[in-house]
């Protein structure tokens, strides 16, 4: 009787140790004690009247009921953790029985009244604790690193190893093979399983390290971009002040010389140019504004007419780095193609709007007979695919081309 009680208490402690690492109880500890004391009486009674096998099964049933009543998690999570505990407990027991049977009498070992039974249970519990500890560490590790979707497959080998041995021998391999073979198979399977888990964890670590490195590289790129933009901004401020001084100087000279007609024309052109520049560099999309500002020299000096019309300014569904790549490539594609046309034919129109649960970007640009720079189109396509968007090129005209991008959008 005492052997059963000790086994029961050890199993409760181990189960509680294991499950509390993953699930959170929402009831008071008093209820848990009460539940287990009642359970204890039932297990002992069942052991007396129905035998050790039924009471052992009931003990596991009790654990399942315990988890269902006392923990607030999804049923799937509960099944996953109780199931994994049962697998580990079974493996430990099987391993202990197979090993001890090499040295001890078979009958003594499975007799609940013998001291060998108690010894077997204690050894089994120590091995079980060891496996539980490794499993807990492994699962915590899984939370730290980003794991692929096929992570669950790693548990297939241990699980089917148990099923295999169980189906061959009913846990006692020694009944089918000799002592040395039994020990060799048990230890071999144990090492193979641990080895696989170890290799898998290393692979995961590498996978995670690669992801972290990519993120770090992206951050570095953004930091570099930010630095470059600050330098350009500084240059731009200097250029504005320099140009303003020169323009004021011209105005003062014209006014001083009484050249009022020239002065009128000069100020009118100045006003037109500033209005035009303000128009396309204030799209309402900060990143695009920066990119346009960055290309200001090219746009103005190469006489490209740009029009932006952003009814939709919300591109938060993309990360900032991808937004930058997308808009930069759109501008590069349009500018490079426009530059191949005559000066008076160069134009770029960029529009964005929301319609029918989609965000659309339409880029209308001048081309010289056919669209060039298809490598840039591929970069745009790559970003579009990443955000489950679709793209179409309208190439029905030899002088102009349209690139239409649509991204799914949820309100």
């Amino acid at each position: 009787m005492i052997n059963i009680l000790i086994t029961y208490v050890i199993q409760i402690v181990l189960f509680h140790y294991y499950i509390s690492h993953f699930l959170h109880s929402f009831r008071k500890t008093g209820y848990i004690y009460f539940f287990y004391i009642v359970g204890l009486f039932i297990v002992v009674s069942m052991n007396l009247f129905m035998g050790i096998q039924i009471s052992s099964i009931f003990m596991y049933v009790l654990n399942i009921v315990y988890v269902i009543i006392f923990f607030k998690e999804s049923i799937l999570n509960k099944i996953l953790y109780v199931g994994s505990f049962l697998v580990i407990a079974s493996v430990s027991e099987m391993l202990t029985v197979d090993t001890l049977m090499i040295f001890l009498d078979n009958k003594l070992l499975i007799d609940p009244l013998s001291n060998y039974y108690l010894m077997g249970m204690i050894v089994s519990s120590i091995i079980e604790f060891f496996f539980l500890y490794i499993f807990i560490k492994f699962m915590k590790f899984k939370d730290i690193v980003q794991v692929p979707k096929y992570f669950w497959m790693i548990f297939l080998l241990p699980f089917f190893t148990i099923i295999l041995i169980k189906s061959i021998s009913g846990f006692a391999l020694i009944s089918k093979v000799n002592q040395i073979e039994s020990l060799a198979i048990s230890i071999g399977l144990l090492i193979a399983n641990i080895g696989i888990l170890y290799i898998f964890s290393i692979t995961l670590e590498n996978f995670d390290a690669k992801n972290k490195m990519e993120i770090a590289l992206q951050k570095e790129k953004l930091a570099t971009l930010n630095y470059e933009l600050l330098i350009k901004q500084n240059d731009s401020h200097y250029r504005v002040l320099h140009d303003t001084r020169n323009q004021l100087s011209t105005i003062m000279t014209l006014a001083h010389d009484g050249e009022y007609k020239k002065l009128k024309l000069y100020t009118y052109n100045l006003y037109r140019n500033i209005t035009k520049t303000l128009t396309y560099t204030l799209t309402g999309v900060p990143l695009l504004n920066l990119l346009l500002d960055n290309m200001l020299n090219d746009i103005n000096y190469k006489d490209i007419n740009i029009k932006t019309q952003f009814e939709n300014k919300d591109f938060d569904f993309m990360d900032i780095y991808d937004q930058m790549i997308l808009f930069k490539n759109i501008l590069l594609l349009a500018m490079n193609n426009s530059l191949m046309c005559k000066e008076e034919e160069r134009f770029i129109i960029i529009k964005s709007f929301k319609l029918n649960n989609q965000i659309h970007i339409i880029v209308h640009m001048s081309i010289n007979l056919k669209l060039e720079y298809m490598d840039i189109v591929l970069m745009i396509e790559k970003i579009t695919d990443k955000y489950l968007g679709s793209y179409t090129l309208d190439l029905n005209n030899i002088n102009t081309c349209k690139l239409i991008l649509s991204f799914p959008y949820n309100n």
């Binding site: 037109r272 209005t275 035009k276 303000l278 128009t279 204030l282 007419n305 029009k307 019309q309 009814e311 008076e344 034919e345 160069r346 134009f347 129109i349 529009k351 709007f353 319609l355 029918n356 649960n357 659309h360 339409i362 209308h364 001048s366 679709s390 793209y391 179409t392 309208d394 005209n397 102009t400 349209k402 239409i404 649509s406």
Partner: protein, 232 residues
């Protein structure tokens, strides 16, 4: 094509007139242009196909003028022409089809006007078939066509369906360049009358729903994108 230019600046109005002349001439389109420098001179009951509207006309607000014009000319294409970019988005309030910033760039003008012209043609396209009915059927009025038991049903926005014996292939050929898209093995939808769609259904402007099958989804989306291209 009946065109109205509303601009208090004669130089800008004439410049626009020259651009229009070049555009219509190269596209072989007959047109009539009326230039108005004062909003009081606009004849609201005149039917215009195209209106170019400055936003700041003397002391009047072009957006208010556009709203009035819209009341009488629901299908008119209104194009905002302004010195200020800030008005480009204001244009949406009156369903303006395009906006141009002064001085209007000829290349941009021609590119945008090509789309406006496509819209105009689309809006006025029709077919007549005495086997079906004895009047014109405007494309814009067709919601969708459904094939059912070897008959095709042409659903119109304001009438009972017209039933014919023509197969689906025939209709696909008829509406080839008119922004109709096949959404299902038995359905062709007029993209002009689509109000929204999701992964498996298309909602039309009269709240009717048409299926969007997986097989035709990609081609439907491509067609829809090309239609947007004309729309905006």
């Amino acid at each position: 094509m009946n065109v109205l230019i509303v601009d208090d600046n004669t130089i800008d109005a004439n410049r626009l007139y020259k651009l229009l002349y070049d555009f219509f001439y190269s596209n072989h389109i007959e047109y009539k242009v009326q230039i108005v420098n004062n909003v009081n001179d606009i004849k609201l009951d005149n039917e215009y196909d195209l209106i170019f509207l400055d936003i700041e006309i003397n002391n009047s607000n072009g957006i208010c003028v556009a709203k009035e014009l819209r009341k009488f000319n629901k299908n008119t294409r209104i194009i905002i022409v302004s010195n200020y970019e800030k008005y480009s988005l204001e244009g949406y309030k009156v369903q303006a089809n395009r906006y141009f910033l002064k001085p209007v760039n000829p290349a941009e003008f021609n590119a945008e006007m090509s789309d406006v012209l496509k819209q105009y043609i689309l809006q006025n396209k029709y077919f007549m078939d005495n086997k079906l009915c004895n009047h014109k059927i405007y494309y814009r009025d067709i919601l969708y066509i459904e094939i059912l038991q070897r008959h095709s049903y042409i659903y119109l926005s304001n009438d009972d369906p017209i039933i014919s014996l023509y197969p689906l292939k025939y209709w696909i050929e008829v509406f080839k360049d008119a922004y109709f898209a096949q959404s299902h093995k038995s359905f062709i939808v007029n993209l002009q009358n689509v109000s929204s769609f999701n992964s498996n259904e298309i909602n039309l402007i009269n709240n009717k729903k048409v299926p969007l099958s997986r097989k035709y989804k990609e081609s439907f989306l491509k067609q829809y994108q090309l239609f947007l291209d004309v729309l905006v």
